[in-house]
């Protein structure tokens, strides 16, 4: 597996983890706040692990890959870039769709002939089981709500864009929806302000240890 593909995975997890951390402290209720924060932390932990693998190939380190690239060089999917911070319905719709797509993606990586990739995918899959339970729990609770259904409809093309063309039919089966045209590339409109904020301390003293 090449470095670009690893960066794609890492960027998805980092940016989604960043978006999910926007809810820390302001989630709908305190118990959920703690649970959702763990999910965000786990995603960033997974990002770190993929960056570390990519770093070996690229002769770099995880933090440099995570923070020192330009916004145009990030390879994350448009789904994770979207700013959904005030909207729990869309946040949970994204969470549920992403976890469903990622399960397929990780499942394929477990069978990789690169032992590092397969090993890491195995570990990640074990932790993701909890994320899937959490997403399913919320989906069941909110599926009767129009707001949630509309959010899923809106984000569906983005969810398809997380996966390769060959894998999309599996996602359609998993969530029982028809395939539509996937949104794969973005304008990076939401990513740029995110990147500015994410890197502002690091850029304030370039090269420093923090």
């Amino acid at each position: 597996m090449n470095a670009q593909e690893l960066l794609r995975l890492a960027d998805d997890e980092l940016i989604l983890g960043w978006r999910n951390s926007e809810w820390t402290g302001i989630a709908p209720f305190l118990e959920e706040d703690v649970a959702f924060s763990s999910i965000a932390q786990t995603e960033i932990g997974h990002a770190r692990a993929w960056y570390e693998l990519a770093a070996k190939e690229l002769g770099s380190d995880a933090d440099s890959l995570a923070f020192d690239r330009e916004p145009e060089d990030y390879l994350c999917s448009p789904l994770v870039e979207l700013r959904l911070a005030d909207d729990w319905a869309r946040t949970i719709a994204r969470h549920w769709l992403y976890e469903s797509a990622d399960a397929i993606r990780i499942g394929a990586l477990k069978a990789s002939d690169d032992p590092d990739v397969a090993g890491l995918a195995e570990k990640i899959d074990r932790e993701e089981a909890y994320h899937r339970m959490h997403a399913a729990m919320w989906e069941e609770r909110l599926r009767g709500d129009a707001r949630f259904r509309e959010a899923v409809d809106e984000l569906w093309p983005f969810a398809l864009g997380v996966l390769s063309e060959a894998q999309r039919s599996l996602l359609c089966e998993a969530v029982d929806r028809d395939e539509v045209e996937a949104i794969e590339q973005g304008e990076r409109n939401d990513l740029r302000p995110l990147w500015e904020e994410m890197t502002m301390v690091r850029r304030s003293v370039p090269g420093a240890s923090w």
């Binding site: 960033i44 690091r202 003293v205 923090w210």
Partner: protein, 297 residues
């Protein structure tokens, strides 16, 4: 039991549980005290959460998210205790955003740089832990029990804070300047944090063994523990009068008690904005609570 008998009971170590009969004044004092603690944990999250998004390394991002998560968890534990004393969580949050109840002075101030992140985790949390350890002996048992878990989790926070500060102090001149500048801004609120000295006999919280440590004792403990740590890094404390007397008692410039009173009654630099932000978040997510926690909403 008469109120005098109850006071004797708690002073000799007697414990009170949620279902026990207790003087109404004791129950009211408990609710007020514990609610303020819950409010403080919740409001303390706001200055820190912005920096999660700006954390300059993956490890710092994880550590800071974990710390803030702990604080939200503490708010949950604390409000549950208040709820079992008769005041529902939503009523506490209503009163908080309406400015009817208080939260600690330190959370009314802005955070400006990554230096603040370090100073808060190292020194503000240290000041809070001193008070919290004293609450382990609270006469109200449900509160004493959650304090055990809270103190255990807070121990990680101080280490994280110290690590952030040490890394910056060992870094560049700019980074050292960030730390010193943050310390200069936070020193005043830190010295006010434990409250103005009230003799224990005059403090009902003390007589009822809700608090078991006088304000000045807590402040002295803070200075004793942390001023040496500050000085050994080459940092200066912005108080020329600060020194440890030969009798072991720290002398310092009189904190600004007027500022403390003004701030905790809702006039801090960030008070209105943060309460407004809390209210806006609550409004946006009210539908979720209605859908999912019908008893609460």
């Amino acid at each position: 039991m008469s109120e005098a008998e109850f006071e004797a009971y708690v002073q000799s170590g007697g414990q009170v549980e949620a279902g026990d009969s207790m003087p109404e004044d004791y129950r009211k004092a408990l609710v007020k005290f514990i609610e303020m603690h819950g409010n403080s944990e919740l409001m303390g999250v706001l200055p820190e959460r912005e920096w999660i998004l700006r954390a300059p390394t993956l490890q710092r991002k994880l550590a800071l998210t974990s710390k803030v998560q702990d604080e939200v968890g503490h708010a949950q534990l604390i409000y549950r205790v208040v709820e079992d004393l008769g005041k529902p969580r939503e009523a506490c949050l209503d009163d908080l955003v309406a400015g009817k109840t208080k939260f600690h002075n330190v959370f009314h101030y802005p955070t400006k740089t990554w230096g603040d992140v370090g100073v808060i985790a190292w020194l503000v949390d240290a000041a809070a832990i001193i008070s919290q350890k004293a609450l382990l002996k609270c006469s109200y048992a449900p509160y004493a029990r959650i304090m055990k878990k809270i103190c255990w989790e807070e121990s990680f926070h101080i280490l994280h804070g110290r690590d952030v500060i040490l890394t910056m102090m060992n870094g560049t001149d700019e980074q050292r300047e960030l730390v010193q500048e943050a310390l200069n801004r936070w020193w005043g609120p830190l010295m006010q944090f434990h409250g103005n000295p009230i003799p224990a006999e005059d403090d009902p919280m003390y007589r009822w063994r809700i608090k078991s440590q006088a304000n000045e004792e807590a402040r002295q403990q803070f200075l004793d523990g942390y001023v040496p740590q500050i000085w050994e890094l080459g940092l200066t404390v912005p108080d020329p009068k600060l020194r440890k007397g030969k009798d072991g008692v720290w002398e310092y410039s009189e904190p600004d008690w007027e500022e403390l009173k003004w701030v905790v009654t809702g006039h801090g630099p960030e008070t209105e904005r943060r309460l407004g932000f809390r209210q806006a978040s609550r409004d946006e997510t009210a539908w979720v609570r209605r859908a999912v926690l019908p008893d609460a909403a």
